[in-house]
Symmetry: C2
Subunit: 460 residues, 2 copies
């Protein structure tokens, strides 16, 4: 046993015979063979030797068959219900994507569609080894219901625009306060202003004030693209990051989605922020829109954690965080023109420690260590596409894929075992959703929930 | 039946109830539901309605259950035995990758390692929906043996450097002549000089002459990176493509791997070539090395087909052509900074028609059409990551992945059915290979098969 005595009675779960991904004191990643993860009351009680664990009484045992066990992936920024729009708006610039497709369609959203979409998204994420996600959307009570039913962990924020008046912000606060701690503690919450280009400065400042008053984190989009930064500079003489600073949002705990438009002058501003600042990167969509990518190297150099994300499936086509991990390694090497940068081990660090930090879950998940919640996955590396195995970290990041995840566990509860989902029925969810798609995708009404202006750097 | 009467006796195979990807006369792609593919003597006899096919006698039937049926993927440039080196040399620039890792290790190659590597590669490709590949390597008799055993289709070329003396070229010719038509016609062959920077001009010219004399195509690396083009210009005053032109290699059938260093002045040179010129693009490795990518838009504008490839697993980590398809769509949008460019349908066109043309198989495979060889795959789209299905082409390119391929058929023979490999045993191959890895990966001898010089634009 590592660091503590076995408590009374049998453990709840023992995952035995795994190769455990563990974090050293200095943050480095190493793999330990023939290990076992002992789970009690939803937490990791110990990471011990398979031999010791064999003698340990347990209510449930999983034979890992030598497979790697690693912390579950965290989707640090998504809009789960948007899986309903997967693949509906392709090959268009972001202005058309928002104005002609997404925002007209989102004016048809119903609570039922949101919940079914969130359930389908949860099914996809469990199948892909995701154990927690940060969601930023509407009708969030329904997403919370999907979290309860699916068994996943989530940080949830109800999105708002200034165009909704103060009601938007109030609803976001009300949701955050009454939902925090839900699903047996698996739900945390955030205030969720949409972005500096859709939420006015005064609203952003009021949000920061509420965050401070209620001890809530904030989750929002900012500096999504370089074009946004350029037009913000042109119109207001400051970058979106400087707008966040001015509003006080860098002095509370804040999760910033994308940040591909973060520029040199933003770095000292971020560095001076007194809050826990994290960035979520979702590289697939940036490639599709022809954007720059998140400047991870610069952000790392000032100690800002960068977590992995998928954004919504309407832009990303999947909620595959594994794919985001692989793409992050590839795109960072390419963007920095440096094959030595962002190694497989660094990618795994983004997928574990940094994703946990970015979403404010840094002490609770993100590592296989005693005291952390028991959110872990087993990966099958017997397929021909990962053989032979010269280096495990490289195999995980550059050869394996989400379909190789065989078992997903959250809070010690097995949500997928040997690729079989245990909490959700995909066919049932999809057939209910299919019934509602015609009304969802109708754009004949000419409404949209908001307007995207490429030249709009901030709502001012 | 489409365009012909049923021949006497039962068909060999009917794949019924599929959604068929078919090519219109103008080259556009469309999907037809409730179709059946009728196979006789290894060829597609007809693509007909599922209803008509239900009445057709057949020796073997596969119920496609509504799944998409599409032409098998073609890996247009690989070095199959290099799967043995998968993940062994990471996070280094190309000079170190060649000089410190790959070329020292390749001086340990044995026929047995080559054959086991090729077999493992075939297993991986069959699992990923690849039905044909163009291989450029050493000990190619052993790769041919793997083609025979696996059931795949291949174009094979025995690689050579000028440093080997005339024997290299002669061996390549001898292999090409005696192996063409092997494996019941599934094997075609090419002459395979390594690249303009390792094969001298006189050798390239002699190769072109042999190609003309024997009616053989040529498969080689050229303009792999912009650095190669720049140093070729500096040293010889001409680009690698101009070197190929001078040697007469653009006036024979030639498959050029990579071409990320193809520049504006190369385009008219390529356009004036009288041979069938094709380019193979393997985008994953370019990202890893921090290179530019293949200029597909420029090549398409002058009518040069660009096929999809993986290169060897030592640089690409997988032989996953599906991943190459997805990455091609993403990276092309990003590189051209144009979200409208390289749509999902264009990506499917590269994966089918253009890959077949690039490898000289344009009349034999690449389409589900009567008279083509029966190389096809079935894709399962019931997973949560592809639901709901708004657009099939988009779902295939941007949501589905190689693990969704369930059935792979070559020459009418089923090589994988419901994800089960029918011709190869992965565990057996891997365990035999594992025994040989210590001698393969030993770099203590200080030898290497060749020298890479970043400043070497051509062997002169």
């Amino acid at each position: 046993m590592t660091g503590e005595h076995a408590k009374d009675g049998p453990a709840d779960l023992v995952v035995e015979g795994c190769t455990a991904l563990v974090h050293a004191q200095d943050g480095g990643i190493r793999f330990e063979e023939d290990r076992a993860v002992v789970v009690r009351d939803g937490a990791i009680e110990a990471v011990t030797s398979a031999r010791d664990a064999a003698r340990l009484p347990a209510r449930e045992r999983i034979d890992a068959q030598g497979r790697p066990a690693m912390p579950g992936l965290i989707n640090c920024h998504t809009h789960t219900p948007m899986v309903a729009l997967r693949g509906i708006a392709e090959d268009v610039p972001v202005e058309e994507w928002f104005n002609d497709w997404i925002w007209p369609i989102e004016s048809n959203l119903t609570d039922e569609i949101v919940e079914l979409g969130a359930l389908l998204a949860c099914a996809e994420m469990i199948r892909g080894g995701v154990t927690a996600f940060a969601d930023h959307y509407f009708s969030m009570d329904r997403v919370a219901a999907a979290v309860v039913r699916s068994g996943l962990r989530a940080n949830l924020g109800w999105a708002y625009f200034s165009s909704q008046g103060p009601e938007g912000r109030e609803r976001s606060l009300d949701f955050a306060l009454r939902t925090a701690g839900g699903a047996g503690g698996r739900i945390t919450t955030s205030l969720a202003p949409h972005a500096p280009y859709t939420v006015e400065d005064a609203d952003l400042a009021a949000t920061a004030e509420l965050a401070r008053e209620h001890g809530l984190p904030v989750h929002l989009h900012a500096a999504e693209s370089r074009a946004q930064t350029d037009s913000s500079l042109q119109q207001h003489g400051r970058t979106p990051i400087e707008t966040l600073h001015r509003a006080g949002l860098l002095d509370v705990d804040v999760l910033i989605a994308h940040g591909t438009g973060i520029v040199e002058r933003d770095l000292p501003v971020l560095q001076r922020g007194t809050g826990r600042i994290g960035i979520a990167t979702a590289p697939k969509g940036y490639l599709k829109f022809g954007w720059d990518t998140t400047p991870i190297r610069a952000l790392r150099s000032i100690g800002i954690p960068v977590g992995l994300a998928t954004d919504g499936a309407a832009s990303n086509n999947t909620l595959d965080v594994w794919e985001s991990m692989t793409l992050t390694a590839l795109v960072q090497k390419s963007t920095e023109r440096d094959p030595r940068w962002l190694t497989a081990r660094q990618a795994l660090d983004h997928a574990t420690t940094q994703s946990a930090l970015a979403t404010g879950l840094g002490e609770r998940v993100g590592a296989l260590a005693p005291g952390r919640r028991a959110d872990l996955i087993l990966v099958d590396l017997t397929g021909p596409h990962v053989r032979p195995l010269h280096d495990l970290a490289t195999a995980l990041v550059l050869s394996a894929r989400s379909a190789d995840v065989v078992t997903t566990i959250v809070d010690g509860r097995v949500l997928m075992r040997d690729r079989k989902l245990l909490t959700l029925d995909v066919e049932e969810i999809v057939s209910e959703l299919a019934r509602l798609l015609p009304e969802l995708t109708d754009r004949g009404h000419g409404r949209r929930i908001q307007e995207y202006d490429a030249g709009l750097g901030g709502a001012g």
